[in-house]
C-alpha cells in the first residue's frame, strides 16, 4: 500500500495527468486513478473533491456544469495552461526522485 503522505503528494500530478488527456468529471477521474494503479492507490473517494476545488482555486484546472445522462448535472474539469506547466514540472521532479532512488538502490542489490 502507498503511504498517506505519498498519496497526498501524488494526487495532484495524477489528476493533472488524467485531465491532460481530456476533460473529465469527479467520479470518472477517481475510477481512472484506480484502474491505472491496479488497486495500489486507494483513497476515500469523497476526499478527491476538496482537492479538485483547491486546484481550481489555484487556477490549475477549471470547471463547468453540464447535464448528462438522466438529466443530472455533472461538473466537468478541464486542465488550464498553468496546470499543464505544473504537470510538466511535476513530471521532472518525480523523474529526479525516481532516478535518485534507483541510483541508491541498484548498488545495494548488486552487493547482495
Amino acid at each position: 500500500m502507498v503511504s498517506k503522505t505519498l498519496m497526498a503528494a501524488s494526487t495532484r500530478p495524477l489528476i493533472l495527468a488524467i485531465l491532460a488527456g481530456g476533460k473529465n468529471y469527479g467520479y470518472s477521474i477517481i475510477q481512472k486513478v484506480k484502474d491505472i494503479s491496479g488497486g495500489h492507490l486507494e483513497w476515500t473517494d469523497g476526499m478527491l473533491y476538496p482537492v479538485l476545488q483547491r486546484m481550481e482555486m489555484e487556477n490549475l484546472i477549471t470547471s463547468n456544469w453540464k447535464l448528462s445522462d438522466g438529466n443530472r448535472p455533472r461538473r466537468y474539469y478541464t486542465i488550464t495552461d498553468k496546470g499543464r506547466d505544473e504537470l510538466a514540472s511535476e513530471l521532472i521532479s518525480w523523474r529526479y526522485i525516481w532516478q535518485a532512488l534507483k541510483g541508491l538502490t541498484d548498488p545495494l542489490k548488486a552487493g547482495d
Partner: protein, 881 residues
C-alpha cells in the same frame, strides 16, 4: 423494503448540516454515490449492502468537510473569493431605502439621535478648526523648519529659569561665528512709539525693529517693495496692510514719510501682508534695528552683551546639526561675553514657539498645548456621549427591530448583510447629523470665537481638506456608534425571535446600564469641574487684595510726555472728580524683581533674598489705599524722601528678620543707602497664582512711566471726556489713551475665565445630550412595561408609586455614575488648583452639589416620560400590544 431515494435523502441531510458544502459540492457527491452504488450493484451486491459500501467509499462527511474548510481558509487568506461575491451592489440602495424608512417612521427617535450626533459633531468640528488654527502658527514660512529662536537658559542663576531676551550684538556674532547659521535677525521694540502722518498720530505698541535678513528668513509676502532693498535706506519703514490703511486710507503709502516720536522721519519702502497669516511674530510696523540704537538706546548699547532686551532669530543651513550647535552654544556667552555669565544659549524651533514655549520675558501672547489637549479631550467626551446615545437608543429599540431581523434572516439575508444594513443606518444618521452640524457650526462660530479668543471664520468651507476631515469624522462617528447595534441586532436567532420568546422584559440590561453610567459620569465630571473652577474664580475676584484698584485709570507717560508729567498732574488735580494723581515705573500687576540682594541692618552677609521693586511718586500709597502697619508714606514734608526713603511690605520684613520697630532701620539696594520709613500691609499686586513676595517702594522721579488717576465713582464717561479736553488743551503732542486698571487685573485671570466658560458650555452640552439619551431610553422602557404598569394600576398602585418604581433604576445608575466621576474630578481639580498659591479648599459639598445637579436634571427628564406612562388609563395600557 430498501428505498434508495429515501436513503440518499437521509445521507444528504447529514451533508447539509455542514455549512461548507454548497449545492454544487452536494450534487457532486450525490452523483458519486449513485455511480458507485450502480457499480456495486453490477458487481452483484444486494441493494442495501451496495448502498452501505458506496457510502463508505465516498467517505465520512466530517472529514470531507474538514478538507473543504481548509480550502475556505486558504481562500480567505489569499483574498480570492471562493463563493460568489457577498456584497451585492444592488442591495446598497436597499440599505439606504430601509434606513430612510426607519428615519421617517420614528421621528422622535430620529430627532433625539440626530440632534445628539449633530451637537457632538459640531463641537468636534469647532475644535478641529481651533486646533488646526493653533497648529498652523508659523508653519507658512518656507524655511519654518530651519528657523530657530535663541533663548537663554538661566537655570544656573535663580531669577527666571529661561528668558527669551538676548543682547543686541548677539545676532550678528552668531552668524559670524557659526558657519551653520546663515542668516540672523534681531526682533524687538523699545517702549511704545508715537507715529505721526500729517494730522493722524497713534501710539504704536507693535512697532518692531529687525535686521535686513528678516525678509530673507521669514516668508511674509511683500505686496510692495523688494526684500533686498526695503532696508537699503537706514531710515525706512515697512507697514502691514492694515496699518497702511489706518494712516493712508486709499492713498499709495510707498515713498511717504512718517514722523516718529516727533523727532525723526522714516520713509515707507514696503507693504507687507500679515493679517491672515498665523505668526508668533507680532508687528504692525517694521524698521531697521539700527534706528532703535541710534534714536532710542544709544551707541553704547550696540555691543553691550549684558543688555538682554530683544529676541534673536537664526536661519540654519539645511544640513546643519541642531545638537552640535546647541552644544557649542551652551558656553558661548561664557566665552564671548563674560566669565560670570553662566547662561546657556538654546535654539528653539520657530514652530514650537506658539504652542510649546513657556519662556520668561516672552514678547507675545502665546497659545498653550495644554489647552489644545483640554479642548480636544472635551470634544471627544461630547462626541462619545452622543455615540453612546445612539447605541443606547438603538439597542433599546431592538424589540421592534428583532422581528424584522428574524424575517430578513428567514428569507435569506446572512449576518453580514444585516450588519451592513445597520451600519448603513448609523452612517446615514451621522451624515444627516453632519449637515445639521455644519449649519450649527456656522451659527455658533461667533460664540465660539468669543469663548476661545480666536477669529475663526467659515473660510473652511472653501478648504476641501477641512470638509474631508468633517466627512471622515461623521463616517467615523457613524461606524463607531453602529458597531454594537449592528453586531447585537444581527445576532438574533430567527426561530426564537419569531416565536416571541426572546424579549420578555429588558434586553441586555447590563450593557445599557454601563453606557448610561458612562454618560453620566462624564456629565457629573464636567459639572463638578465647572462648579469648582467658578468657585475658584470668584474667590480670585473677591479676595481682599489689600489695595483698591477701582476707579483708577492710567496713561502711559513715555517720550516727551515724561517731561510734562508734573504739569499734567497739576491740571488734572484741579478737576473736581479727580481724587488723586500719582505715577510709577511699572504697572502694579507687573512689578519685577530687582537684581541682587538688598542690604539691611543686621544682615548676615551670606543671606540671599530676592525682592521686587517699583519706583513711585508721592500719593501712590494713598491712591491705591494701601494700608500701612507702621510708619508713614512718602511725603513732601520730608526733603530727603526722594533720595533715601524706602517703604517695604510685611513679607520683606519677615524675610529680613527685622524686629519691631522697623521704621528707621537702615536699608538699601543698588548702592543706594537709606532708611525704612514705612511698612505696608501685604497686598496681592500679582495674580493669586503667586505667593506674596518681598516688595519695596522707592521714589525715583526720572523713572516714572505710568500716570494713575483716581476718579470719583460716578459718570466715568463724562469725567474721561473732560480729562481728555484738558489733555488736548495742553498740546502734549500725544493722543490721550487711557486704560482701566481693574481691566488689567481681570486680565491676570483671563485664561481661567476662559476655561470656566469652556467648561460651562461643554458641561451644558454634555448634560443636554446625555438627557436626550435618557429621555429616549426612559420612553422605551416605559413602553416595554406598559402592560406591567396597567396591571399594577388595576391592582391599586398609585401614579406616584409607579413613577417611583420606574425612576428607581435611573436613580441607581446616576448615583453609580457619580461615584465614578468624583475621584476623577477630584484629581483633575486638585491638579488644576495647584497653579494657584491661594486657592479654595476642595470640599465634599461641591461634589455632592454637582452630582445632585446631574441627578435632578436626569430625574426630571426621566419623569417626563414615566409620569406619562404612569398616568395612562389601565384600560388603554392593557390593550397595548
Amino acid at each position: 423494503m430498501f428505498d434508495l431515494e429515501k436513503e440518499i435523502r437521509k445521507w444528504k441531510k447529514v451533508l447539509y448540516k455542514h455549512e461548507v458544502f454548497d449545492d454544487g459540492v452536494i450534487t457532486d457527491l450525490e452523483l458519486h454515490l449513485r455511480k458507485t452504488y450502480q457499480t456495486q450493484r453490477e458487481a452483484g451486491l444486494p441493494e442495501e449492502e451496495a448502498f452501505r459500501s458506496a457510502a463508505a467509499q465516498v467517505g465520512e462527511a466530517d472529514k470531507i468537510a474538514a478538507e473543504y474548510d481548509k480550502n475556505r481558509l486558504a481562500a480567505l487568506i489569499r483574498h480570492a473569493p471562493l463563493h460568489p461575491r457577498r456584497f451585492l451592489p444592488a442591495l446598497v440602495w436597499h440599505y439606504i431605502k430601509t434606513a430612510l424608512r426607519i428615519i421617517r417612521r420614528r421621528k422622535a427617535y430620529t430627532f433625539i439621535n440626530i440632534s445628539g450626533l449633530a451637537i457632538g459633531l459640531c463641537v468636534c468640528m469647532l475644535i478641529v478648526l481651533w486646533v488646526a488654527d493653533e497648529w498652523s502658527f508659523d508653519r507658512f514660512h518656507t524655511n519654518a523648519d530651519r528657523i530657530f529662536r535663541v533663548y537663554r537658559d538661566e537655570s544656573a542663576t535663580q531669577m527666571f529659569s529661561t528668558s527669551a531676551l538676548t543682547p543686541p550684538p548677539m545676532a550678528a556674532a552668531l552668524k559670524q561665528d557659526f558657519p551653520d547659521i546663515i542668516r540672523s535677525t534681531r526682533f524687538g521694540y523699545w517702549r511704545r512709539q508715537l507715529v505721526t502722518y500729517r494730522d493722524k498720530s497713534f501710539n504704536e505698541t507693535r512697532y518692531m525693529h529687525v535686521d535686513p535678513d528678516f525678509f530673507h528668513m521669514f516668508s511674509f509676502p511683500l505686496l510692495k517693495g523688494d526684500p533686498d532693498t526695503v532696508f537699503a535706506n537706514p531710515y525706512s519703514i515697512v507697514l502691514t496692510e492694515k496699518t497702511a490703511a489706518k494712516y493712508f486710507g486709499e492713498e499709495d503709502p510707498i515713498g511717504k514719510t512718517l514722523t516718529v516720536n516727533n523727532r525723526f522721519d522714516v520713509i515707507i519702502t514696503g507693504i507687507i501682508r500679515r493679517d491672515s497669516l498665523k505668526s508668533s511674530l507680532e508687528f504692525d510696523l517694521l524698521s531697521p534695528f539700527d534706528i532703535l540704537i541710534k534714536e532710542s538706546l544709544g551707541e553704547e548699547v550696540r555691543d553691550n552683551w549684558g543688555f538682554n532686551s530683544f529676541g534673536t532669530y537664526v536661519l540654519l543651513e539645511a544640513a546643519a546639526s541642531l545638537d552640535n550647535l546647541n552644544r557649542h552654544l551652551k558656553d558661548y556667552l561664557n566665552k564671548k561675553y563674560s566669565e560670570e555669565d553662566t547662561d546657556a544659549l538654546v535654539l528653539q524651533p520657530l514652530t514650537d514657539i506658539h504652542l510649546f514655549s513657556n519662556l520668561g520675558h516672552d514678547l507675545h501672547n502665546r497659545g498653550d498645548i495644554k489647552y489644545v489637549w483640554i479642548f480636544s479631550a472635551l470634544a471627544v467626551f461630547v462626541l462619545l456621549i452622543a455615540c453612546v446615545n445612539f447605541v443606547n437608543l438603538t439597542t433599546a429599540r431592538s424589540v421592534r427591530r428583532a422581528k424584522e431581523v428574524g424575517l430578513r434572516k428567514v428569507v435569506g439575508a446572512n449576518r453580514r448583510q444585516l450588519i451592513r444594513q445597520f451600519f448603513a443606518e448609523s452612517v446615514l444618521m451621522s451624515l444627516l447629523a453632519l449637515i445639521f452640524a455644519l449649519l450649527l457650526v456656522e451659527c455658533l462660530l461667533p460664540l465660539f470665537n468669543n469663548l476661545s479668543g480666536k477669529e475663526l471664520s467659515s473660510s473652511w468651507l472653501k478648504n476641501p481638506s477641512f470638509l474631508l476631515i468633517f466627512i471622515g469624522l461623521a463616517l467615523l462617528t457613524g461606524l463607531l456608534s453602529g458597531i454594537y447595534p449592528a453586531l447585537f441586532l444581527s445576532s438574533f436567532q430567527p426561530v426564537r425571535v419569531l416565536k416571541g420568546s426572546m424579549f420578555s422584559t429588558r434586553a441586555n440590561p447590563l450593557f445599557r446600564k454601563v453606557l448610561v453610567i458612562f454618560q453620566f459620569s462624564l456629565s457629573v465630571f464636567l459639572i463638578t469641574g465647572t462648579l469648582i473652577i467658578s468657585r475658584q474664580l470668584s474667590y480670585l475676584r473677591h479676595t481682599n487684595l489689600g489695595f483698591n484698584r477701582e476707579h483708577i485709570i492710567y496713561v502711559s507717560i513715555h517720550g516727551k510726555l515724561h517731561e510734562q508729567y508734573n504739569a499734567i498732574r497739576e491740571r488734572f488735580l484741579q478737576h473736581p472728580d479727580v481724587l488723586h494723581v500719582t505715577a510709577s515705573m511699572a504697572l502694579p500687576t507687573n512689578i519685577q524683581s530687582t537684581p541682587g540682594t538688598p542690604m539691611w541692618e543686621g544682615k548676615d552677609p551670606e543671606t540671599v533674598m530676592e525682592i521686587k521693586a517699583d519706583f513711585i511718586d508721592y500719593d501712590y500709597i494713598e491712591t491705591f489705599e494701601i494700608s500701612l502697619v507702621e510708619g508713614r508714606s512718602f511725603s513732601r514734608e520730608f526733603g530727603s524722601d526722594p533720595e533715601t526713603a524706602f517703604i517695604v511690605n510685611e513679607e520683606a520684613v519677615r524675610r529680613m528678620g527685622l524686629e519691631s520697630p522697623v521704621v528707621g532701620k537702615k536699608f538699601g539696594f543698588w548702592g543706594i543707602d537709606g532708611r525704612i520709613i514705612g511698612v505696608m500691609k501685604d497686598a496681592h499686586f500679582q495674580s493669586l497664582h503667586h505667593k506674596i513676595e518681598p516688595l519695596v517702594f522707592k521714589m525715583f522721579p526720572d523713572w516714572l512711566r505710568r500716570m494713575y488717576v483716581k476718579v470719583r465713582s460716578g459718570d466715568m464717561a463724562l469725567t474721561l471726556a473732560s480729562l481728555e479736553k484738558t489733555w488736548d488743551g495742553m498740546n502734549t503732542g500725544y493722543p490721550f489713551e487711557v486704560r482701566f486698571l481693574d481691566e488689567d487685573f481681570e486680565n491676570l485671570y483671563k485664561q481661567e475665565a476662559r476655561l470656566e466658560n469652556i467648561f460651562r458650555v461643554f458641561a451644558a452640552l454634555a448634560v443636554f445630550i446625555a438627557c436626550l439619551g435618557l429621555f429616549g431610553l426612559a420612553s422605551f422602557i416605559a413602553e416595554q412595561r406598559t402592560k406591567e404598569i396597567g396591571i399594577r394600576k388595576v391592582l391599586g398602585s398609585s401614579t406616584a408609586g409607579i413613577v417611583g418604581l420606574l425612576n428607581r433604576d435611573f436613580l441607581k445608575w446616576i448615583l453609580t455614575a457619580a461615584f465614578f466621576a468624583w475621584p476623577a474630578a477630584y484629581l483633575a481639580m486638585h491638579f488644576w488648583l495647584q497653579k494657584f498659591a491661594y486657592r479654595i479648599p476642595l470640599e465634599i459639598w461641591m461634589f455632592f452639589l454637582a452630582a445632585s445637579i446631574g441627578l435632578a436634571v436626569g430625574l426630571i427628564t426621566v419623569s417626563l416620560q414615566t409620569l406619562k406612562a404612569a398616568r395612562t388609563h389601565p384600560a388603554n395600557s392593557l390593550k397595548h400590544e
